[in-house]
Symmetry: C2
Subunit: 325 residues, 2 copies
């Protein structure tokens, strides 16, 4: 099914930005186009913006639809992959929207929908940090904690496309409250959101003058960058909560080692991007302390390499590879 | 590779018993033979006992080695599957023992080695509780908590054959001490061993006269049957710890739902056999409380159906199916 000579279009429909790119059959990107996502618009307007972004990308690359093998689209939130329907998007207003069918008709091209976290880990598997591995766990701590799985060299989606909810693995019975309503999920223990809870507390009790100055005690104002700068400013209590997040992340990684016996764990997401290798090293140390020794000894931990490109590359690659399934 | 018309031999090398059976190409068992395992013997004696058990089973079935497509063997503890080496067995004295090669030479038959938990879930997948499903999680709480995974219709082993250590998923950071040395593993929270810790405590403080009478306060004397009878005798504190075990098991199940998005979870093992559907129902209730609603709503929970036969059937079936890999 690899229509060898043609180009591919990868599209990342984010909550705030749309990223569209033209790439060759080896997923080398030649042209990128980034635009703001619709917000608060109706479905039809949001859809037209997607079409506009794709058309502009093709124009920028001086290509016509006929030059492409298809379009791989990554979307946030749940999808019905085979039907190509966006079930729901948190911020974009889509609800049971048949994006695949509409775009196929619009451009007369094959269109493939995928969840953005799955596309991201698939991109890292094809061209990034995990490119020489067959068994890959991707964990992306940011506002939430996303997860994606490559098992036996294929994206693992489970029975209904929902596998890999690593962030909602409970690591602490009756632990901290999670956005999903449970207590003690990895996300509730290690995400930026979890840190924000502690950060406003530290600000309120006078343990983080930096955060208090920049964000006050308003939970909504806490950003990863603010936490990073507080640590840089020498605030030890803030450093402690970051270290604790890495420690919990390592326990989640250890559980994944024991369950999936992977060769590599790829870490990405906002916290990893902001806090870099010291954070990753702490998480890896905790992973080694908590996993079964014979399973963890060969596991490699790598930061994601492709940044924003991971999702568009993965979406485009899945356009080719999902045909095998 | 399915040598269609021949018989298969399935062999379960247990810590206390060896079970060997003759089955047809549909894994219908015609003859069974059960013998005591060697204990404290040297490797060669233990090996001769295995050969003797297989030979006796063939004799009992009035078959010769040439009537068989091969022998599927399930062993406890870690193996090197491709080389067919038993790395180590807790009670049987084998250490880096090339069982596959020796048996192949002995009987001039193809021999396939598998971990016993993997063989068990594979048996349930081929002929038992999970036979019409493609995505299956098996959890077996007994002395430990074993786990096995069928993903996309195939046994999932991971990079080094060690995947599926569901019992060593940490569900409670700094929780109860586990046999593996960690704290808060599912096994440490839900297994018979976890219950035994609480049972001796209840016996010591006078909250379980039944256990005190039958086993005193000796941890080593606590059996599942004793716990069962204490509950039957109306001991509420013992019932509470059993219910708590099911609750924790349900959290482990919920984590598996979120990670693997399975269609079915098969529960087996000593605790499930002893406490039956009330225990399974409590675990299922807890699973539903703790998993993501959209992932758990279609998940079926079933007790294992095949009992001791699961392992021998799975071992024999993997003899055929592992040829595809």
């Amino acid at each position: 099914m690899a229509e060898g000579k043609k180009h591919r279009l990868g599209f990342d429909l984010g909550a705030t930005k749309m990223l569209c790119a033209v790439m060759d059959k080896n997923y080398q990107i030649s042209v990128r186009n980034k635009e703001n996502s619709s917000k608060g618009d109706d479905e039809e307007t949001a859809y037209k913006n997607i079409v506009g972004c794709i058309t502009k990308t093709m124009d920028k690359a001086e290509k016509k639809p006929g030059d492409f093998a298809g379009i791989g689209i990554a979307v946030p939130g749940p999808i019905k992959r085979e039907e190509g329907i966006i079930s729901e998007t948190p911020n974009l207003g889509f609800k049971n929207f048949p994006l695949k069918k509409k775009l196929e008709k619009e451009f007369n091209l094959r269109v493939c929908l995928e969840n953005d976290v799955n596309a991201g880990i698939y991109g890292e598997f094809k061209k990034g940090a995990a490119r020489s591995f067959k068994h890959v766990v991707g964990i992306f701590p940011g506002t939430g904690v996303g997860g994606g799985l490559i098992l036996n060299g294929r994206l693992y989606r489970g029975a209904d496309g929902g596998a890999g909810e690593i962030g909602h693995m409970i690591i602490q019975v009756d632990g901290r409250l999670c956005g999903c309503g449970q207590y003690g999920c990895l996300e509730a223990m290690a995400s930026k959101t979890a840190l924000a809870k502690d950060a406003v507390f530290l600000a309120a009790k006078g343990a983080s003058p930096y955060i208090f100055e920049k964000g006050g005690t308003d939970f909504n104002k806490i950003k990863s960058g603010m936490l990073y700068k507080a640590v840089k400013a020498g605030e030890k209590e803030v450093k402690r909560i970051i270290d604790r997040s890495a420690y919990y992340l390592g326990i989640g990684m250890a559980n994944c080692v024991n369950l999936f016996n992977p060769e590599i764990i790829v870490l990405g997401g906002g916290l990893v991007e902001k806090f870099g290798s010291p954070y990753v090293n702490k998480a890896e140390k905790s992973m080694k302390e908590h996993a079964m020794p014979y399973l963890v000894k060969k596991v490699v931990v790598h930061e994601a390499e492709l940044g924003d490109d991971a999702v568009i590359i993965g979406a485009a690659a899945l356009l080719d590879d999902s045909a095998d399934e």
